[in-house]
């Protein structure tokens, strides 16, 4: 009888410990909250002051896709990745815009100019539209020779086009 009791106590203790560890992992994983997708018809409009060209200095991915000329990410997920040449002044439109969530969203833009454009300042204008209404309008500039890259936050939930902050180079 006593060995059985001892075994049961052992099972309860180890089982309790294992259950506690699993619960702790679940709680940690649960911290990444899935936010609800934003409702509405959104479009991103991008215009560059330079010809877009694939970046020969890009880190090449394992999937064999070539270096990108322009990349837009919303909340860390690609919504645009183009590797072809695009003439300056050409408006690039992304519609519909996926990965936009209700609340705060972070939009990252990265664009690559030809190497012989060294010595000129470069800029990319980004506009976020909702049903034809402008929600955000940002222009990112680069230092000579660098890639244009910038990130800004936008709240798509409220009535106001509440840009919180932006930074880029």
């Amino acid at each position: 009888m006593r060995p059985v009791i001892a075994f049961l106590i052992w099972v309860v203790l180890i089982g309790g410990l294992t259950a506690y560890m699993h619960a702790r992992e679940r709680v940690a994983a649960g911290r990444v909250v899935d936010s609800q997708a934003a409702r509405g018809n959104f479009a991103l409009e991008l215009t560059t002051t330079f010809d877009l060209e694939p970046d020969p200095f890009a880190l090449q991915s394992d999937d064999g896709s070539g270096p990108a000329a322009i990349v837009v990410r919303i909340n860390g997920k690609d919504v645009l990745r183009r590797s072809d040449r695009v003439q300056r002044g050409t408006q690039i439109v992304v519609e519909p815009v996926s990965h936009l969530a209700q609340g705060q969203n972070e939009i990252y833009v990265e664009a690559s100019a030809p190497l012989d454009s060294a010595g000129r300042s470069l800029a990319v204008r980004v506009r976020l539209m909702e049903d034809g209404r402008q929600m955000a309008d940002r222009t990112f500039w680069s230092e000579e020779g660098a890639r244009v890259a910038g990130v800004f936050s936008v709240n798509v939930e409220g009535a106001e086009p509440a840009d919180v902050n932006h930074h880029g180079h």
């Binding site: 006593r2 001892a6 106590i9 052992w10 203790l13 180890i14 410990l17 560890m21 970046d55 020969p56 200095f57 890009a58 880190l59 090449q60 394992d62 190497l115 012989d116 060294a118 010595g119 230092e143 000579e144 020779g145 660098a146 890639r147």
Partner: protein, 320 residues
């Protein structure tokens, strides 16, 4: 009385069982938590060792791996990879390696790095794989110029090759390698842009680069220079390598014809020949360029970016 003693003994036995179980539980719980903690820090043990052939390859590799790996270099700063003869110490070093990295395109004369890696049974990465080579003519044969690192664009190919292969070797470090590589690639892009801007002040007709050996073809092509050298693509004895009287005469004629302002010696090549040519042609020595090897520790040319920057400033100072 006996019944009471039996009860006490039973209680003691139950208590000892419980004490024993508690100890087991503590040991198990501690080891479980400890195992989880150490699982997050696998690098606490021995660092992987990477043995590189040249100083440039070693520096580029260091930029990618940071402190996660130990990077060793066979060649000392200033040593010539074309004529280098491996020593028993190099063989010992390669035996300790987890992976070896070479430039390739026969920069390492008689493939000494590939031989070292093969003899030690170690995997070998060739950093120049995928570079668009410049083809040179030598004794009727075509040779791919091995000095591909002389443009930041080609150095970016090296970075990509090294990052990809090391990520395969050490998947746990992939994210770190890629993050460092991205930052380094940005620096290379800025370097390239800066070089173009600097050379913009030298008129195209004055962009003539005379150096000890034919190492600057990629650099010259990228930044609009004509280049001349009395010694071929290698200082060794390979096809198309070494100095010929015809080459020597051609260089002196070019200097006179184009009114070259200055010629340059190289850190890894004996300067005697270029000094003679400068005297004969009546031009000054513009300075010393880092070519097949970077500078020693503590010098401005101890990194790839530093070496390129110093070369550009030396050329600019002499030719503008």
């Amino acid at each position: 009385m006996t019944g009471v003693r039996v009860k006490i003994l039973r209680r003691r036995t139950t208590a000892s069982y419980l004490a024993w179980l508690s100890c087991c539980w503590l040991v198990l719980a501690t080891s479980f938590v400890f195992a989880q903690e150490t699982g997050q820090r696998p690098a606490a043990a021995r660092k992987p060792v990477i043995v590189c052939s040249t100083t440039q390859i070693a520096d580029i590799t260091r930029q990618v791996v940071g402190d996660r790996c130990e990077v060793k270099c066979v060649l000392a700063p200033g040593a010539d990879p074309h004529t280098y003869m491996p020593t028993p110490g190099d063989a010992q070093l390669t035996l300790k390696a987890d992976i070896c990295i070479q430039n390739g395109l026969h920069l390492e004369g008689k493939n000494w790095m590939a031989t070292l890696a093969k003899d030690a049974g170690k995997p070998l990465i060739t950093a120049a794989t995928g570079v668009q080579p410049i083809e040179l003519e030598g004794d009727g044969q075509k040779i791919s110029d091995p000095h591909a690192w002389f443009t930041p664009k080609n150095a970016a190919v090296y970075v990509n090759n090294i990052t990809r292969e090391l990520s395969r070797m050490d998947p746990a470090g992939k994210e770190q390698y890629e993050a460092r590589a991205k930052l380094y690639l940005l620096q290379l892009r800025v370097l390239d842009s800066w070089i173009r801007e600097q050379f913009n002040v030298i008129p195209m007709t004055q962009r003539i680069l005379v150096t000890s050996h034919d190492a600057f073809n990629y650099f010259a092509k990228e930044y609009g220079f004509r280049n001349q050298a009395p010694v071929g693509w290698s200082t060794g004895s390979e096809v198309g390598a070494g100095m010929t009287p015809e080459r020597r005469k051609q260089v002196i004629d070019s200097i006179k014809e184009f009114g070259v302002k200055a010629v340059f010696v190289e850190t890894s090549v004996n300067p005697k020949l270029v000094r003679e040519i400068a005297r004969e042609a009546g031009v000054k020595i513009g300075g010393e360029l880092y070519s097949d090897s970077m500078g020693p520790s503590g010098s401005a040319g101890e990194t790839y970016i530093g070496m390129m920057r110093e070369n550009v400033l030396t050329i600019l100072d002499a030719l503008k």
